[in-house]
Subunit: 371 residues, 2 copies
């Protein structure tokens, strides 16, 4: 992508850094590095100054590859961890940063990674550190047209993956094989990657994070399939619940209710509406039907470079660390239907990726919604 | 699995905790929870006391599922993050832990997760925290017979995945599709899950962490395929490099050299040998041939519940946070061949999972090693 895009993002980033009194960011989270430079990878870092200069550090094996992909001003190849620490010190020196404050990703860095990037041989003593998660969220929350186009492409691929999984979900196959059918289809339909696939069946549809097992599908089982392809660096998020064979009246009623809650929430999504209001809408329909005790997890979340990102309703900080987000704006992308309806013996969930506009929203994942 | 296994592990854990003056562990890393209780999942925690009592906290949706899988003494279902924090406080109270020290996973917890589990409403003020990574590594490093059997099963599945990928690696298909062929075969061969697949081709085989892209394979390309299935909770790790069509003399020479280095290292692995010595063996062959500047990353690492775990050679703490490990013992499982030979235009890597014994080692991943 042309550097102009990154220069614009870096300029906006610099303004937010100035307001937060941060002299630089030291990023190691691939999604954030990808957003600001065009390349995000493991075992690498990006130092971003307030004036928009970018210094990268990558394994020395990767220097040429990164040069072809990233927008940057300086690049250092390191050969090991000691080299990485020294290259960070070198960049601090080059930028003349000897005091002040830098931003680190508190929602990404483990304690031990933190110790590494703030090592006395890396960071000048008089430079303090602060969380820069809110800055990166604010930058990434409203999508540019090119970003929406990529999510749209990922949503098409997600539909192909869901079709393959649903068709494969027959008695005797394992949850893992259903996941495999989805993933194989995602890659063949043009996904370069995908986030972890969730497939659960029977009683396992009642758990919050149903990673696939070797459980074999049985007639009458509910099957919950949640997939997240990545296309051109952007994700889509779709979940469907289907029944193996003919659903019971109870299963049908629960499904219909959840779908009603999800659709009511999507109908409400537009610029100016808050995540809390959307959460209340989805929960409201379920609570109204007496299911206040049968829901778990945030009912919606942002979608972009990551399949779960800002905005999130407040109160779900453990794995996300986000603050309460501002009201939705046009071109925010969210997934609606992330909390399930868990009835004990089984659960249902229907989730779609939706792009918000000034006067409504558009659903990007359109695989049929039926048991 | 029978609780006896967990009781034995918990007893050993208690002894290590006592030596480290820790009154309890508060674990959130699924791999560690799985080892000590038989169940590890996202959005959950396990509190382990010195006397081997286990208190779990899981989403309330998951309580019945966990009850059927885990060894535990107490269990709390929570409905959200506030509930989780309060349930932690409740367990502290139940166990009568009001002061002293607890162990946390500094190599797993992000800054924001750390803030959560040490929240004043969760943890008594007079309880201090310390890293318990060394304890969990020491516990998990030597595998029980049942664990080796699971890695062995995963290694068989890995061979099936590699076969599918290598056969699919033909001109015109994408790296992502090669990964898809491998993953699909892993799931059909009995893997319940797999860790992220790495497939790189052509010039991309020169980078350290070659996640798949939409690059299409061309005749003459090197293709590097690194896969990690999970069977019964245990992983295997295999990497092969193949050439699309007939390799050049240079490609053949580099491959032969790397294979020589890898095989020399495997030949050296036995109880009593240190990771540093193995590292020097592998690096030694490559350096001897003038390639000291063409290697990157730790040449070996442990394999078990995680595909990359303890032991690691010292000096690779950034993403692992490990201290230098003791000499190998029988029934330590390692992957040998994790550092590549990176020659600029392309690279090669051959990696196998190996179980160490008193007088040698056994290679568990036996897919043919040829370009």
């Amino acid at each position: 992508m042309v550097s102009e895009v990154y220069l614009r993002r870096l300029e906006k980033c610099g303004a937010l850094m100035k307001a937060a009194r941060l002299d630089a960011l030291l990023l190691t989270k691939p999604a954030n590095m990808f957003y600001l430079t065009g390349d995000g990878r493991l075992c690498a870092y990006a130092m971003i100054t307030q004036s928009g200069e970018v210094a990268l550090g990558v394994p020395r094996t990767d220097v040429e590859d990164v040069k072809a992909l990233a927008h940057f001003d300086r690049i250092a190849g390191f050969e090991d961890e000691v080299g990485m620490i020294h290259s960070i010190a070198h960049h601090f020196d080059d930028f003349g940063i000897r005091r002040g404050a830098i931003g680190l990703e508190y929602t990404y860095l483990t304690q031990s990674m933190m110790a590494m990037v703030t090592h006395p041989h890396a960071k000048p003593d008089d430079v303090t550190v602060k969380d820069c998660t809110p800055i990166m969220s604010e930058l990434r929350i409203v999508k540019e047209a090119r970003e929406v186009a990529s999510v749209r492409a990922a949503a098409k691929v997600a539909e192909a993956g869901m079709k393959a999984a649903v068709e494969f979900a027959t008695p005797g196959v394992t949850e893992s094989q259903v996941a495999g059918a989805a993933e194989h289809a995602l890659r063949n339909a043009g996904a370069e990657e995908f986030w972890r696939t969730y497939v659960s069946s029977g009683p396992r549809t009642n758990i919050a994070h149903g990673l696939p097992t070797l459980r074999k599908l049985e007639r009458g089982d509910m099957v919950m399939i949640d997939i997240h392809p990545i296309v051109s660096g952007y994700s889509a998020d779709i979940c469907r619940t289907v029944c193996v064979g003919k659903p019971t009246a109870d299963q049908r009623a629960a499904y219909t209710l959840y779908l009603e809650a999800q659709q009511a929430t999507i109908a409400r999504a537009r610029a100016g509406v808050g995540m809390v209001e959307l959460e209340q809408t989805l929960h409201g329909v379920l609570k109204q039907a007496g299911h206040g005790d049968h829901i778990f997890g945030p009912p919606m979340h942002g979608v972009g470079i990551e399949f779960e990102e800002s905005p999130l309703p407040p109160g779900h900080a453990f794995f996300h660390g986000e603050k309460a987000p501002p009201p939705l704006e046009a071109n925010v992308v969210i997934a609606v239907g992330n909390c399930g309806l868990y009835l004990g013996r089984w659960g249902v969930r229907v989730e779609d990726t939706v792009v918000v506009s000034a006067d409504g929203s558009e659903v990007l994942t359109n695989y049929p919604r039926r048991l």
